[in-house]
Amino acid sequence: MTINGWLQIAIFFILIVACAKPLGSFIATIIEGRKNFLTPVLAPVERLIYRLCGVTETEEQHWTRYAGALLAFSLFSAVLLYAIQRLQAWFPFNPQGYGAGNVSPDLGFNTSVSFVTNTNWQSYTPETTLSYFVQMAGLTMHNFTSAAAGLAVAIALVRGFARQSIKTVGNFWVDMTRAVLYVLLPISVIAALVLCSQGAIQNLHPYTVATTLEGAKQTIAQGPVASQEAIKMLGTNGGGFFNANSAHPFENPTPFTNMLQMFLIFLIPGALTYTFGKMVRDTRQGWALFAAMTILWLGGVVVAYHYEQRGTPMLANAGIQMSATDTQTGGNMEGKETRFGIADTALFATVTTDASCGAINGWHDSFTPLGGLVPLFNIELGEVVFGGVGAGLYGMLMFAILAVFIAGLMVGRTPEYLGKKIEQKEVKMAMIAMLVLAASILLFSGASSVIPFAAKGYWNPPGPAAANINNPGAHGLSEILYAYSSGTGNNGSAFAGINANTPWYNVTIGFATLIGRFLMLLPLLAIAGSLAEKKQVPVSAGTFPTHGPLFVGLLVGVVIIVGALTYFPALSLGPIVEHLML
């Protein structure tokens, strides 16, 4: 591990801390509909949108209506995206002439739900499957809306804490519109321009055919990359324009853009903790969540960086230098880009899975067992370490509710968080959310590791589903676990090493993304509704303070223990035994 590596990690963190407060309070401002520096430009647009869609800005919704609006919107956009993909031949900006043949129905379903749920799992190779129109009007558009929907849900939950004796949690359409208009769009425009300046491409040209120095023919894919790249990171979507994702030089050309991309992933999730603190009128509460997230993030980075730099005995035996020198990174460079090196790849892998981003700049499959355990475990913790846009905050608040419930009992009072009593309904809903996530990951993975297919089946090539993996043994189990964790966690990154573009995997992973998104959102919105109706208990010496180091430690402990207890048996047969066998 090098000073340079640690410095980059430190710079990254300083940037996130520095932006949390300004962006966080800006989000609080726009979400409450107060005047800001963008109002003169965007307010007329906002009003026009409401008028066109028949939305009454001031009308508030009960949590069930809020959830209904969210579900209706998601269903509509999922169907729309499916249609655009299957009918891409009819639309313009299709220089390569892709058609329905490139997108099978199961792939279309998988991609559609995957982008609607902010997962962006990609079973396909984008540059050989989708037209520019689908990438722009379909995928990029969803990158905005799915992130905005996540943010809206988080805000609704925060309102539950901030309000009292009110039956409503906000207006989904208004929250969505404001999130896209004031937050996602402006930052994306700037970020896209910066990416272009660094060499990310942005065009609608047909693919270039070049002759290489060896005389071979090579097709170089083109496209409107920078515009999709910006929101792919900012919205914690992670679906690459190219198959190589952020490892591709057109997406992520330089170490500087690499830093920018990681920064964009954590930018909004970090800021939302401040928004939360501001909305509940106690910014210390937001910083406490931020601190807990930081600890979990840093732990992941240290482990991943350490094990990637240490490499494996096999690599060492092969005569590869394991420690870094001035000219060589040393360590495990398999599957990593030389322009990023070990520190930036380990950091990227940690950040992209802490958040539900899922963009990658190196192959997680090629990580050392424990280095690869970090992204896998991050996802299984529920991606609450800063997490996805909105999703990270509401996920962490769910853990906070559980932590407070147990801790609150231990101080001898009905547990309360931010003055709201945590009672049956909240506990029940939080447990349902946790249970559903665990069930989706474990049951689908369990099924895929043993289920056999008949000789002439539609679902999968004949033989066991596990045969789709390229690395049998403990590593293969990690690959299966990772796929369903990534889907359920709405991460979308692939461990890779598994051929997931078969109806079996497309459909099951598709369902995993739906379960992971909506069966988590609905209980949390129910909690939001229930909290909003409650009175706020005034703070006293008998109230357990949720802004100090004790609470931060407790929260971190609960997140890790719950994750570890749920997944330890499975992980012990995957990455852990793989490490022990080295």
Partner: protein
Amino acid sequence: MATELEDPIVEAPPTPGLADSTAMGLSRGKRARPLFDPPIVRRAILDSFVKLNPVTLAKNPVMFVVEVGAALTTALMIRTLATSGTGFGFEFQIAAWLWFTVLFANFAEAMAEGRGKAQADSLRKTKTSAEARKLGPNGKIEVVSAATLRKGDVCICEPNDVIPGDGDVIEGIASVDESVITGESAPVIRESGGDRSAVTGGTKVLSDYIKVQITSNPGETFLDRMIALVEGAQRQKTPNEIALNIMIAGLTLIFLLAVVTLAPFAQYSVDAAKAGVVPSVIVLVSLLVCLIPTTVGGLLSAIGIAGMDRVMQHNVLAMSGKAVEAAGDVNTLLLDKTGTITLGNRQAVEFIPADGVSEADLADAAQLSSLADETPEGRSIVVLAKEKYGLRGREIGEHQAEFIAFTAQTRMSGLNYEGLAIRKGAMESIRQHVTEMGGEFPQKMVDVADGISRTGGTPLVVSSNEKVLGVIHLKDIVKGGMRERFAQMRVMGIRTVMITGDNPLTAAAIASEAGVDDFLAQATPRDKLDLIKREQAGGRLVAMTGDGTNDAPALAQADVGVAMNTGTMAAKEAGNMVDLDSNPTKLIEIVAIGKQLLITRGSLTTFSIANDVAKYFAIIPAMFAVTYPSLNRLNIMGLHTPESAILAAVIFNALIIIVLVPLALRGVKYRALSAGALLRRNLLVYGLGGIIVPFPGIWAIDRLLGLLHLA
């Protein structure tokens, strides 16, 4: 600052000569039984088997899962016996310990219930075959069975009669032995009218005669309710208990998923490694039982029942577990000044003589004037004179002096003795008296009297003929230790509000002396009710005590309303607890018990979950010892064989329930600390302790199993 609940936070020091020592501090332990009373233990062991009935056990999802696992294991064990017989020893032991796990949990619950049942039995004995002398419509007395009495019937009770049912005294006065209900052997006075008119069925008249109008039908009497309550017959789960049950049921399901899916993962691994076998169902069941929170699942209902029982041991009858739980949440405590914060009566603390009068002379006159004064104030003057000036009480016969009793007209009392007319009374009365006799009331004494009033005291002026001798300072005496107690309350985050009928000035003085956070002066029952509603509107939970009928609305409104047993039936019905000792200070202990209940639940939950870490380290390497020998590096306890490792974890899991039964029944010690300090402590003990303890525990059991050649 830390005071453990074991020591009642405050006990008023015995104050001789004061009427108010109503069983203060005597309550605790009156109903205490040893934790493991042999007859209760015997019954509990039997009940543990009765409770194996799956229909009743299904209410406890965690233990139900264990029972299903135990049954499944037993079936598989029998199959093994019928076929090959290999591995029977191991399977038999696992099955046996799984059944023990369920039995231990049942035993904990049965123990908790047993204590209540034993008490109910002793109460029931008092109910048998009482006869009532019912007053017929024509005034004729007929002897009927107490069980036939209905609401509205009137009975006559004479010495040695057992009062046949709950009722109100409508005529007469009697001393009544209520020890059946309260455990207190000193008799109490019950009389018609006022706040002491309620009598309870099953209590015994000792002297005099009363006419009682029955207020409850058979089966609905106080005694009936009390029996039902201590027995836990209508025990309902409290809100927090339900929430906790949901959580541990959820965790159970999550662990079920983790264990069930381990089978395919194992299958995959066995295929990949081409070694070993998939863990047997018995091994998977063992892992499941070890992971699910059996410790807290097994002890949860015992904790709840024991909490109610602890309240009962403080001689408080809680009408529901919910009320006890709410007590732990209380934010605001309303305390009546008189009897709770101050001793019941004012006491003389100082003699302030007028110019030209010596203090001793004033004391002498004051004592004379109070000799015949039987009020507590009067007696306190005699006591003060004796303590301060060594003046002994003198025997002055009727022939030597003429005693003047206090009347509402004169508002003075005193005596005519050796030609002197010695009087004491309120300033205005004495001023009138001396002026009439041609004397003058010195301005200095007016200032002194005003000064006393301002500090919350009561001035009594003493005169001899036309001459004013001085002023006696009567003061409300704050009970010893109250200040410290209120300081503790503040640390716990509870605001104390003193309720008094005094004027604001007096109230403020006493409030600051007692150290309460706030006071409500010149309080009417209406004010009290409004205050409660105001506090509740701000999201606070309010606790109060009351005894009078006019307290009933406030008692009903409060989240925790403790009615005094001496109080009226209306008050007792309105509140959700009845203090059989009628000691208003006990509210503070009730709060502590409520907190203790929640802390015990939270701590054992934390402990239970934390235990899982060690169990993984024991069982996972054992399961895959052949498939993945490398996993044995996780066997940090060095358990000697896979069978022994699994068995040791299961045995530890079962034994820990029994080990923790005393803790569940007694409750985790509650310390009056701030929430943060309390949490840090409990997290350290039950969280960190819960992670560490199983390692040596499982290790030791594994060694023992090896020594005994059991695995």
